[in-house]
Symmetry: C3
């Protein structure tokens, strides 16, 4: 696979006279892809039905003729103002019952049929016109589903659609009432049209009600995206992508991606460090201008799974952004490092966001590769350096991983619905496990919760898995190594109820969760090893082999052959030690990397990344701050 670079560009923001120069500079910088069009609806259809595609024809031509391949976005994330007149009820409604108004973006409810029809109309027009355009080499649907908390809507449209969805799912009220346990607190329904959305209840709503609402909301995104894809497929054979976000779990990305060819995501390491990562103040200060050393990699590995191997970074942070609480600039070298790390994890293409900083609009303080005055911003030289380095690099190849981590969107919904401890969060849990594996210097595959064959991995990890799918259960014997289920794993039936045997119900493992505790910050459960459980601890009824015990002798981790159950949330060092020992038992070599040093190998080249602001000496080699080192392995 040939790796490549690209950039996001908004021809509609600039005088047409500038397009040629821009295209030429892109090509001269070594970029080969340009993404356009995803926010341009008001320019494509300034009035309802009045289409103005000529400028886009010309823009594609200018870019394509310069040698760039175009990713064309469908503009459905930004319906024009006139759309509101046609569909006044198309707006999403927030959990407080307030409509989320026009004036920024993503101002639509996924359940609104009228807006969906408009989207199909504009996508069809674009597909017909550009589906065979030789410059249009890929498509993007919409933009960042879920960004700005836009998956859940409490609108009338959503209410109606939810009732239909429930009727389809349960067929009878009786089935629904039983599944939800509605006898509790007299919550039984006599008609599907009696069921409301689970907001503004006096105290917390039934978790089963919420869980179905989360499933429904995810399905609405899948359907919205599929409607676009179905149309595009009729007119184009170019690959279709969507650009996902960081730490967005509002919908099942695997399900959306099943209809797409490429997964891509928008990687803003510095912004994400500040606004969506649990970490100490010291950690955040240490990585202020670099981003967290594992957060990007986690998403790279996740979206590689989501994309079934094909994935891009569609938007790569090139400098300071505008949307985080504080917006420092990347250390020199970090734009290059981020780009290479994406390639090390298997990205086909990394596109920077954006070409030239806009002097107007909400993102006027968001850096581009160019400044608003068209002078190069610091990120440009780093992108150009990567472009030169890519030219000398071998083709990318698939990178084997010995360890797999299951990531499941339904689990994120479930524990968000019922955290039981205020700081219990599924992503946080999985990320803690991921970080421990990274510290061990391992390649990691993230895998879907319905993975049917585990034979490729020596170690498979499934912390916090809401329910064990039939397919994953069936696949367990295929794993020749160790499988670890973690706290809360398979603790619920799909309807959210507690299984009659209490879980985790793992085949061949005599282990039952008798009781759970959530623990406030500072309170822990001591382990024999000297470490602790934090956040969460479980009492087990078990006669299985105890491989980790509490200080008081209670079992903390048990196993039967390769199948393990870990009955709590270990502190980071303990988790590291547990996973290290497990890997060693499987014959895997591990490291103990310092926090800023990370590595990945594709089997031929081992990449080293120093995310720190100080030089690290590792195995006799000095890695300066922000360094990328490629070691040929064979």
């Amino acid at each position: 696979m040939k790796r490549s670079l690209g950039v996001c560009y908004y021809p509609e923001h600039w005088p047409e006279a500038q397009w040629h120069d821009d295209a030429a500079r892109m090509v001269a910088s070594g970029l080969t892809w340009v993404r356009i069009g995803e926010f341009a609806w008001s320019r494509l259809e300034p009035d309802p039905g009045k289409l103005e595609f000529d400028w886009l024809d010309r823009a594609i031509d200018v870019l394509g003729d310069a040698g760039l391949q175009v990713v064309l976005g469908t503009p459905t994330a930004t319906p024009p103002r006139w759309m509101l007149d046609r569909h006044p009820d198309m707006l999403a409604v927030d959990a407080d019952g307030r409509p989320r108004k026009f004036g920024s973006r993503r101002h639509y409810c996924f359940s609104h049929r009228g807006y969906l029809a408009e989207c199909k109309r504009i996508v069809a027009l674009l597909a017909e016109r550009y589906g065979r355009n030789p410059h249009v080499a890929a498509w993007q649907t919409d933009n960042e589903y879920g960004c700005h908390d836009t998956i859940l809507s409490y609108s009338d449209a959503a209410r109606m659609a939810f009732r239909d969805w429930l009727a389809q799912r349960y067929q009878s009220l009786d089935a629904l009432n039983r599944a939800w346990g509605n006898v509790f607190w007299s919550m039984e329904y006599a008609g599907f049209d009696e069921i409301d959305l689970p907001n503004l209840t006096v105290t917390e709503p039934n978790p089963a009600h919420v869980m179905d609402f989360r499933r429904f909301a995810s399905d609405q995104v899948v359907a919205f995206n599929r409607a676009q894809v179905d149309i595009l497929r009729r007119h184009t054979s170019a690959p279709i992508a969507h650009n996902y976000m960081g730490r967005e779990t509002g919908f099942d990305h695997y399900a959306v991606a099943a209809d797409l060819d490429i997964a891509s995501w928008d990687s803003y390491p510095i912004g994400f460090l500040s606004d969506r990562l649990e970490a100490s103040d010291d950690h955040k200060a240490a990585f202020l201008r670099q981003g967290d050393p594992d957060f990007q990699a986690f998403h790279h590995d996740l979206y590689r799974a989501v994309g079934r191997g094909r994935w891009w970074v569609m938007e790569q942070q090139p400098g300071p952004v505008n949307w985080a609480p504080y917006n420092p600039a990347p250390l020199p070298g970090m734009v290059r490092l981020w780009t290479w790390e994406a390639f090390a994890h298997g990205a086909e293409t990394v596109c920077y966001f954006r070409w030239r900083q806009a002097p107007f609009g909400q993102e006027q303080m968001h850096a581009g590769l160019l400044r608003p005055d068209s002078a190069p911003a610091p990120g440009l030289a780093e992108a150009e350096a990567v472009a030169r380095e890519l030219a000398d690099s071998p083709q990318a190849q698939a990178a084997p991983a010995d360890v797999a981590l299951v990531f499941d969107y339904a689990s994120a919904w479930a524990w968000d619905t019922q955290p039981q401890g205020a700081d219990f969060d599924y992503v946080r849990l999985c990320f803690a496990w991921y970080r421990a594996l990274r510290r061990l210097g391992l390649n990691i595959d993230i895998i879907a919760p319905d993975t049917a064959d585990l034979s490729r991995w020596r170690v498979v990890l499934a912390p916090g898995l809401f329910t064990l799918s039939d397919s994953l259960r069936a696949a367990l014997p295929s794993c020749q190594g160790a499988v670890v289920f973690g706290p809360r794993a398979n603790s619920r039936l799909p309807d959210f109820s507690i299984p009659s045997d209490l879980g985790p119900s793992l085949p061949g493992l005599d282990c039952r969760v008798a009781r759970v505790e959530s623990l406030p910050p500072g309170s822990t459960v001591g382990l024999e090893s000297g470490g602790h459980f934090v956040h969460w601890a479980e009492d087990l009824d078990t006669r299985a082999e105890v491989v980790l015990a509490r200080a008081n002798g209670q079992p903390a981790m048990v196993r039967a052959d390769g199948l393990h159950y870990l009955a709590g949330w270990p502190d980071d060092d303990t988790l590291f030690a547990v996973l290290r020992d497990l890997c060693h038992a499987q014959g895997l070599a591990t490291m103990d990397l310092p926090p800023a040093l990370r590595t990945r190998s594709d089997g031929r080249t081992r990449f080293w990344f120093n995310h720190g602001s100080q030089t690290i000496t590792w195995q006799g080699t000095d890695l300066p701050p922000c360094a990328v080192l490629q070691q040929v392995q064979r």
Copy 2:
């Protein structure tokens, strides 16, 4: 009085086939009471007017025939979904103007006449059917009035009812305008129908307006409860109770209780420690799995007053709960300790909540005496231990107290309406005084603000009392010992205005509050004794005897004969010393108990409770963690 144990049970949650076994196990465990029915409306009346009481007939029979006495709850805290179709405007509305929707519980406005009529109808049906049932030995009205912040509603129904209430109270607009001081900021009304509820005003509403709204809201609860009691009385002679909550001050519990026979409350020590107690992080960590050592006792003593001597714990935490921010498990022994402490404070009956943990619904993570798989949870053995111990125990007898603490719901409303310092809270103030008395090892009576005879107590304390009632004023001479009024006591007229002599206007005590200060955390007023006033300090005009002075010589506490006024909020150690000296002057013996050790005596038996996780040696005796020690005194 014979002490007894019971449990809360939901036959409608389980297959009828299981009822017999459950009943038999309850009896075998030593339980003699079972509370049922309080959330079962949707099963009693699945459609409007379609009554299905047969299953309840059978449940009562099964339980009763097994030897259990039934407490039957009216199901009015959980109106079924069809009720909303009949009374769409019955929902309460929150202070932001949002209806509080169906989907959990307590989804009604106390002021809605249509819903009140429905409640009277279902209560009458139950009373007629079960009023003479020999197994139904007690009744409970509704469930946890006020839980989930449900006393104040800003609905149309509440607005109309409030206007009527004001018209009744004031008879004329002129009287209301004068009482509220509406000339201030041109707030005068020309008609009762011009008066709105005091929410969403531009800046704070008139405190007199808010105070009347609080009084009105309390009266609505009293009327709602009385309507049920009046019906029940016509059909049954069994005692009637309501189950109150912890730290719930939204309505006047004395007034509700005046219509009832028994006060009961729902005691969740671990949940309450975490979600409704001001305490340091260290304190909360020390008592994480035990609950605060004084919080339960405070409510036991309060509800003994509310119940005019007859009181129960209707729901006792048996294990981890689901609703606090974090939900750890009780230390082994605490379920027993909590139960015995309730008995030591005079409880007739302690019922655990609940028999078997539900695998569905909002409380699926709330422990029961049984696990969801019917295996015993750890709490069951402790309940059984208490049952055995009870069998060998003498009858309970009334326990004399030498000290009384006035607790007044109107004062809670008043200082909530006008805290003047952001952390001034009436319950917090009273609880600080209560804790100091507990540290002194004293039996304490909590008494109502209209208590007419004080002759039983050597020391009577009234911190923060909004207004001095005529009856309490008249009773002052009946106290042969010391009376202490604390900061803010009698500082207002009933209409919320400042009295013309500024207060506290205590008979025979030359003392006037010239000025008050509220103090932020960390700022204090030094006392001559070396201690400090925190939160609150008052400048006095006084020629009375000074018994405590500020470091600068100003009077901090004055007295005339036995009548004292304390002009600030002392730190805990100072308050302890002040109350100790006062007790000694009255000839009362005191202790200085460590924080985890508490005691109460009923005159014949002295109970000792170690709420700590370490052994305490006290007077030569070792009390292990969570120990209960009973010393026969005569």
Copy 3:
């Protein structure tokens, strides 16, 4: 100029029989002004059209005949309840879409035409009746525009008015769409009636949209005030004032003041310290009972500019207030200190709020000069002391300042709209510069952003100025000394877009802001001098002389002749050193005052103020706590 004292009085709150005594006591205390009437609408017009002015006639007579000069307020901040029946849609609406209801004050939307007409009617009635009354020596319009966050309203009236305002401003949609950059995210409008207010958008609205809404909202206040002034002018020649608030930047005070004769403000040092000042806990604790030593002075100097030289303190805190989170009492001497500091900064008159503490209403816990029982509160003696001292004092004279600080309301709106760093605040920035100048012991003039002549000052400072006005640009050569533009200065065009040359575009200074960073607390950019930039740092493209550099050698402050640009937010000590060196270079003598000591000179008398609770020895003189020292200089 003769300095004088006054007091705010509410005759409608007290029996008429008391008025004579009150007036006599005011005069005996040395007060010469009394402000009345500003909340009395419900007493002037109890029913629509039913006028009752007789009591006000008599009150003015009683006060005037006693020798007091009356300031008469228009009562438009508190429309009576009946007004709502006439204009149900007159209420403001908050950003969440909730009407801000009757029941306190300021319950009106500035854009409501019906209410504006009512205001004009009542003002005309007052003006006709009292415009020539010899006792009415000044007028006040409304009360505290903007208090309780009342400038921005999201009502229908505001929406309609905003559209009209935009149509006037832009004339065409095309112009508006271009100015706002609405091509970004397809936000283009096809009609002015499509434009909504910028609240409740899915993510942040276009900053250009918000900025125009802020301008519009300010203009609405100006128009509202002007409507009253125009009427008053027709009937009176007495001066007209408005009483502004502390740290209120919701509207352009210069623009409102252009129609008025006197600026006045309401100074509550202790309340403001607690609720509207960024400062460390230690600082707040040190000045708990004194208020911040610079906060009042900053506003004195600001409102001197706003009033074009004529300014008052209309409400001076006389004791504890009721509205801050905590409300301690002033140290003895502070009421006198505050009063004298106002005079030192050029106040004509200081009025205390209020005469007698009200026993009812929202402010019943707000101290007056008298207690509710008419006994003197501690503040009265201090006011009387000032009155005696004034009698012996020379006339005030204009005080020259060598240093000017530009303060611009539009900049406050701009950086509130787009802080880019969560703690970037324009007032905070200007106040940091002001505090450094105060520490230098300098007299300071605050000046408007369109000041046309800078020749009076040796040093002119403009941190954070949104745009450089044409007039200020033209005035730059008139400054014979140093001019410093600070971070973010002139970084935007008036339409909010980034200028094509990136700014600051200062004449003759080769300096361009290439990139900016916002920094979280604890993260800094080191300077060569050892200090740091905090909050904000800018990368410059410059070939100008570097007068301050980063530790890494990058320019941090550059200059060309007297024109400087400071590319960051220095820590306090660094800012002090930078400004000190700048002053020295201009031949100005400076001090380095301790935090509690402040000074101002009017050229003849140098005033010293010890804001601390400890004695300060300065230049051989002991200043006790709260001392005021007047040194005759010539």
